[in-house]
Symmetry: C2
């Protein structure tokens, strides 16, 4: 085994990292865990992992090449900086930090140390996202102009530290980070405005249902939604392009493309049509023979590719796929999200 890894924080995601690396990543083994909670320490022992008695012990363990941080969000910065200074490569769970300045501090330290610092934006390998990215890269539907990305749950659930503002809880910093990271990787243009409508429906401290509207400089707009109180869902993705519309219903990636035929756009009647809600011309249904229904592109994706890239970077064979500069952009947008909610209106930016 080439590389040895440790994990800080052995909750739900921490134990997922151990399992994932041990079962899917050839180049890395997992040695041990540092967690301040007794129950997490017991869980690590029962998985046959070493339990570090202190952070210092981990920092001084020369066997460790790579450490993944999976603790509550407010502790990421201090752990990351300590690890980088100790010469470790570092993977950090998202959201990378609580704000832009914390991340900039980490990035300075990483640069000085020459070590890897990356963020576990695993959802860039989600099948639904890769389908949409492939579709837009192919460009067969013309120019995209409105992108809707939604994750709608109904468990009304902001569990544990995720319900606390001081720990970096709330939906913006939970799923918001994923959906914004995906959008910024989908649309190659600066964000020029952010309008965020954040709701705290049942949480005392944090946002639990959110909508974020973005303008990009290239005239693409996007709506990004995370709900924990939605009982009738919209599709996961709804993509409006000049020559067609694409939809992915849910994580199973069922969906379709409807594309305008080039040759039959206006060969049908322009008269007023009497719908069930009265007369209309513009909103009357389009005849089916003017469109084609197409399958979504086939793609292969694997969350393991995240760690495989880390191995390749450690070996000097590849560039980092999830770069701190990208996370910095997301954090800058998130600061505008909170600014927008505070001021109660949309805000301009150039991010």
């Amino acid at each position: 085994m080439k590389y040895t890894m440790a994990i800080i924080g052995f909750g739900g995601m921490g134990s997922w990292h151990a399992e994932n690396v041990l079962s899917h990543i050839d180049g890395i083994t997992v040695k041990g865990v540092y967690d301040i909670q007794k129950s997490a320490q017991d869980k690590a022992l029962s998985h046959g992992l070493y339990v570090y008695g202190s952070l210092e012990e981990l920092l001084e363990d020369r066997e460790i090449d790579l450490v993944t941080i999976a603790t509550p969000n407010d502790s990421h910065k201090d752990y990351a900086i300590a690890l980088l200074k100790a010469g470790k490569n570092v993977i950090c769970e998202k959201p990378v930090t609580m704000n832009v300045s914390q991340l900039e501090e980490i990035m300075e330290t990483a640069e000085k140390s020459g070590k890897i610092f990356s963020i576990h934006q695993n959802r860039r390998w989600d099948k639904d996202f890769v389908i949409i990215k492939t579709l837009l890269d192919q460009g067969e539907l013309g120019r995209p102009y409105f992108i809707e990305s939604r994750v709608q749950g109904s468990r009304r659930a902001m569990y544990g530290w995720r319900g606390h503002k001081t720990n970096g809880g709330g939906m913006v910093l939970d799923w918001g980070v994923h959906l914004l990271d995906q959008l910024l990787n989908l649309i190659d243009s600066p964000v020029v405005s952010v309008d965020a409508h954040l709701f705290s429906l049942y949480s005392d401290e944090v946002d639990d249902n959110i909508k974020i509207f973005l303008r990009f400089e290239n005239k693409v707009s996007a709506l990004c939604e995370m709900s924990t109180n939605c009982l009738i869902n919209h599709p996961r993705w709804h993509i409006s392009c000049t020559d067609g519309t694409a939809v992915i219903e849910d994580w199973s990636c069922k969906g379709k493309i409807v594309k305008l035929k080039a040759d039959s756009q206006m060969s049908w009647s322009e008269d007023i049509v009497y719908t069930e809600a009265g007369p209309t011309r513009t909103m009357a249904p389009r005849p089916e023979y003017t469109t084609n229904i197409l399958e979504l592109p086939e793609v292969q994706t694997d969350w393991s590719d995240y760690y495989k890239n880390i191995v390749n970077v450690m070996e000097g064979k590849a560039e980092l796929i999830v770069k701190p500069q990208q996370a910095l952009r997301v954090m800058k947008v998130i600061e505008k999200v909170f600014e927008s909610e505070e001021t109660g209106a949309g805000v301009s930016c150039h991010i």
Copy 2:
């Protein structure tokens, strides 16, 4: 017959008004039409209507109590003021004017004249809207917090004068006026921010696909969308309330309500659930036994009620349902819509 009406502008909507009044409104007869186009004059004659040779002839016709204006939007103001000064009651097609100041001028003239001035916001009697209004008035789903109202067509069609900016064309001034009028009547609170993303996909001059995001002072938010290039539609209405979600699919008013049961919200497992897109707690599906599926409320609606109200107002028996003050609010929001698009970000307001 008590009242005699004339129509200015005998295009699609003008002839609809004649037909509607003659077949559904007991108290009003339609005498004649003023239209500068020969083809419209011929159509009026073929319907057995009198054709006025000039606007002056219509203004001086003492038989006429009521005139409906159904001309391109840029001509509404001058006609309305001339008619009110001539002592006629006036109904104006929407959008009432091109901007706020034009409407204020009409309202001053109406006040001095003592005559009725109303706007044909017929879609306040659309069945889908009345169902949503009834549902929210009943309050059984708790507090609404996000309202989505969409009309999605795919005919890529901004016909005739609707394609020209100088005539008041474009989607904001066409369907936008309807959807905003409905929203302002649904939510009893000032609009405090407007963020409008307007697209001109195939029109040279006007917006043809639009999304408008509104914040109301009472913390309700809304998305209002009009598309002419959408090939896979969202529901006509999607209403998020604290205790449930309601959807109306389309103008046929198929739809449903899903409501949380009060007694079983958190009696189920809180563990991480492995969905097709990996582990999640917050976004795992909610068990069906924690919700009820309910029917949408039954309502009776009739577009004729608009003219019946006008008859009752002329008889002194009722208050105007569609008041110019309401149209003024819509026009003020629309000015913010264009301001938002121009500045490229959301704008604050108090309307």
